[in-house]
């Protein structure tokens, strides 16, 4: 068919037409943005001051505005409430074990503060503050960080000249910064290797705690420690007295109970940490007190031989027939002594 003259003609015709149909890169899609439209959306500020609106503000006026719109999360002194961002303090801590990154200690440019307050704050009502309020709050936060004087009139003309303490603390990404050869054999000395298992409470710094970088990251394993550190840190800012938290006294456990912990975790915890199948939860004093009154010996017998009560079943050895009587006994002791 393709050999017929007619088809050849059709192909030639198509080839001639094709370029004229559409290979244009000039899409002519979209409409011109007007100056008014651009002005309405162009909210960004740069370190050189480009984008700042006309106007000015100061910390004297900023104090009341800050306390109205900001203090509920950031604290009256910028110390941060709960896990909300800390705004003040932290100078000189950036190379510490637990650095405190705040506007004063970390942020390189004052323009960022104006830009961020305007685009995103208050958290529950972004873009609701007028330019005057943003200037006032910006001035107040800078003043709280001892960067400007209380009566300094922060303005469109001088904000870019405000020098931030950590202005020179940044440099552009220089990765890759490590070189790991693709070794295949004898790559490490097995005798000198150290293994670290999961630790509670090692969260470095709270990236997701939106600014409460150093101190507020919390974890059950270190709540107490963090609470006391947090109290000290806040006291340093607010001048309040530190109330030392009362430490819980650790109770001694028998050697057998300590040995039993491993068995508990491996075999018993399935039900006894969550209370499944009517199992008394470890740490639930109400659930355990009456049982303990019946005598530890009876509890051990129930654990070894099984037990059926109104609230659930305890299969013999928790269904782990492979466990020795001694291991089960030690696990029971661990659970009992954990209540005391």
């Amino acid at each position: 068919m393709f050999r017929s003259p007619k088809s050849t003609f059709a192909l030639v015709l198509f080839a001639c037409l094709a370029p004229g149909v559409s290979y244009a890169q000039d899409y002519q899609i979209g409409t011109a943005a007007t100056a008014v439209e651009i002005t309405g959306w162009d909210i960004d500020i740069r370190p050189d001051g480009k984008g700042l609106p006309a106007g000015s503000g100061n910390a004297v006026n900023g104090e009341e505005t800050y306390e109205t719109y900001c203090a509920s999360c950031h604290g009256v002194f910028g110390e941060g409430e709960g896990r909300w961002p800390v705004l003040t303090g932290g100078e000189g801590t950036l190379s510490d074990d637990r650095p405190v990154k705040t506007v004063g200690s970390y942020w390189p440019y004052a323009s960022t503060l104006f830009d961020y307050i305007r685009r995103a704050m208050p958290f529950n009502a972004p873009m609701s503050l007028n330019d005057q309020q943003v200037y006032d709050i910006t001035a107040y936060v800078l003043y709280m960080n001892d960067i400007i004087e209380e009566d300094f009139e922060l303005s469109q003309d001088n904000l870019a000249q405000v020098e931030m303490p950590n202005q020179d603390g940044f440099y552009v990404d220089n990765r890759p910064d490590v070189s790991n050869p693709r070794c295949m054999t004898d790559c490490a000395d097995p005798d000198s290797m150290m293994m670290q298992s999961s630790l509670a409470g090692v969260t470095p710094i709270g990236h997701f705690i939106e600014g409460a970088d150093a101190p507020a990251a919390s974890h059950s394993g270190q709540d107490e420690l963090e609470a006391s550190k947090e109290a000290e840190r806040k006291a340093a800012i607010t001048g309040e007295e530190v109330v030392a938290p009362v430490a819980k006294e650790a109770t001694a456990m028998s050697a057998a109970a300590m040995v039993g912990e491993a068995t508990y975790k491996a075999a018993c915890g399935v039900c006894h940490t969550s209370g499944l199948a009517g199992a008394p939860k470890v740490g639930d004093a109400d659930a355990w007190s009456e049982r303990i009154q019946q005598g530890t010996d009876l509890l051990i017998i129930h654990a070894l031989e099984g037990y059926a009560g109104s609230e659930g079943y305890m299969p013999a050895k928790g269904g782990r027939a492979d466990l020795s009587d001694e291991a089960v006994t030690n696990a029971v002791l661990f659970m009992v002594e954990s209540q005391q």
Partner: protein, 446 residues
């Protein structure tokens, strides 16, 4: 507390199973799954004492050969029962999860993809990890606009219809939060793969190269950076250098074949392949061309990497070569001795994965793994190593290397260069400890 004393008997397997099933109804999905998984072996152990097995126990076998299962003896549900289909109810545990104590507020928080349960390299849309700075806006696409202005000859405004008229491209790219793994600079603490590596997803994205849109606006010669800004309450903003845009930045409106999910920026987002996820601005509404970066909050206060000396790196855009083993992992313990396909994911923001090695002895010796399926630029790449496990302890690791020759580093190497306070970009070799009963723990080797 009074307790009715029943005759002391050892419960039957069926009673025990029923009790456990009933008890598990009150649990969260995660607890329940764990409970039932462990419960089954628990019951199996109890039953084995009596000389029985699960399959032959009364009440458990009616759906197993030689019996005809219940679902084969009746009709199922009809078409459009679920106009937008859902996973099987038996997969209800495959969900995004968060770490509640991480954040003050879920509106500005993160969730992780269940990468321990996913197959291949594509993340289903409902499971792509979430990161919001002011929550998910509910945007009417008819009223959404993209504005391009600044150092351009023709400032433009595009409607969604406009953008979808441009010739489209579809590309499979990973997306990762630079804080992925960042909770473990000081030590291991997340007993689940979902929490150690789940700020990671990979989709097929459809949209328009940003350079095509910038060409339409006519970038002036001084234009070296852009500011990308979202329409969410945070007006999330990042500065992006022009070289990246000329290379591969996309403006996308679809993922995995459908319009973007609200969580992923519906109706429009930026996509900077291989770069830290926050630069791929969601709910994209504005692009301004300028001659220098803006140094906004999310590129100064956040997303900068504090080094041990107190100085910080900025514009740390690239997600360096990384990998992790997904089978086994804490959520996927080894269930029985014998054959096991060790599997995992590898990815690099610098191009394609060239290979992955695995170690079973904590990094003393290494063995090349096989790359499976598609091996694409800046996409998740799946690797596999078939072996046998006979109950021996493993310290299992994976180590990826990419087309630039960069080899995934050890944690010790990263710590030596950076200290432990940089939060972001922890791409070190990860270790799982496999115990004698197949359980898997998160550990670190130094």
């Amino acid at each position: 507390m009074t307790q009715i004393k029943l005759p002391m008997t050892t419960p039957s397997t069926q009673q025990l199973l029923q009790t456990m099933q009933d008890a598990s109804e009150h649990l969260s999905i995660n607890d329940r799954r764990d409970f039932l998984r462990r419960g089954v072996s628990y019951v199996a152990g109890a039953a084995a004492v009596g000389g029985a097995t699960i399959a032959s126990a009364t009440g458990l076998s009616s759906n197993l050969p030689p019996n005809e299962p219940i679902w084969s003896r009746q009709l199922g549900t009809g078409v459009v029962e679920n106009p937008y289909g859902l996973p099987s109810r038996h997969e209800a545990q495959v969900v995004r999860r968060t770490v509640p104590w991480l954040t003050a507020e879920s509106i500005s928080s993160i969730s992780m993809s269940p990468i321990q349960d996913l197959k291949g390299i594509i993340t289903p849309n409902g499971l792509v990890f979430e990161r919001y700075h002011a929550g998910v806006p509910d945007i009417n696409p008819d009223e959404h606009r993209l504005m391009i202005h600044g150092l351009v000859d023709n400032p433009l405004i595009f409607t969604m219809d406009d953008l979808m008229r441009f010739p489209s491209v579809s590309e499979i790219k990973f997306l990762e939060c630079p804080a992925n793994g960042g909770m473990e600079w000081r030590g291991p603490q997340m007993e689940a793969l979902q929490f150690t590596h789940g700020m990671l997803s990979c989709c097929e994205w459809t949209g328009v190269p940003l350079k095509v849109l910038l060409d339409a606006a006519g970038v002036q010669t001084e234009g070296k950076w852009i500011l990308a800004e979202g329409a969410d309450g945070a007006h999330m903003s990042r500065s992006i250098p022009m070289e990246k845009i000329l290379d591969d930045t996309l403006v996308v409106y679809a993922q995995n074949g459908e319009m973007l999910r609200p969580e992923q920026g519906y109706p429009l987002r930026l996509l900077n392949p291989g770069w830290e996820g926050n630069t791929s601005i969601k709910w994209l509404r504005r692009i301004e061309v300028g001659d220098q970066p803006w140094h906004h909050r999310e590129e100064t206060s956040k997303y900068t990497d504090l080094m041990a000396d107190g100085r910080a790196r900025r514009f740390t855009f690239v997600q360096e070569c990384n990998s992790v083993i997904t089978t086994p992992c804490p959520e996927n313990p080894i269930l029985r001795k014998g054959f096991i396909e060790v599997e995992g994911l590898a990815w690099t923001g610098r191009g394609t994965i060239k290979g992955v090695d695995v170690s079973f002895d904590g990094g003393v010796s290494w063995h090349p793994a096989k790359l499976k399926g598609l091996v694409l630029d800046k996409a998740l790449t799946r690797f596999s190593f078939s072996t046998h496990w006979q109950g021996e302890p493993w310290l299992i690791q994976s180590r990826a290397y990419d087309e630039t020759g960069y080899v995934q580093p050890t944690l010790a190497q990263l710590r030596e260069q950076r200290g432990v306070n940089s939060i972001y970009h922890k791409n070190s070799i990860h270790t799982w400890q496999v115990g004698p009963t197949g359980e898997v723990k998160n550990v670190q080797i130094t």
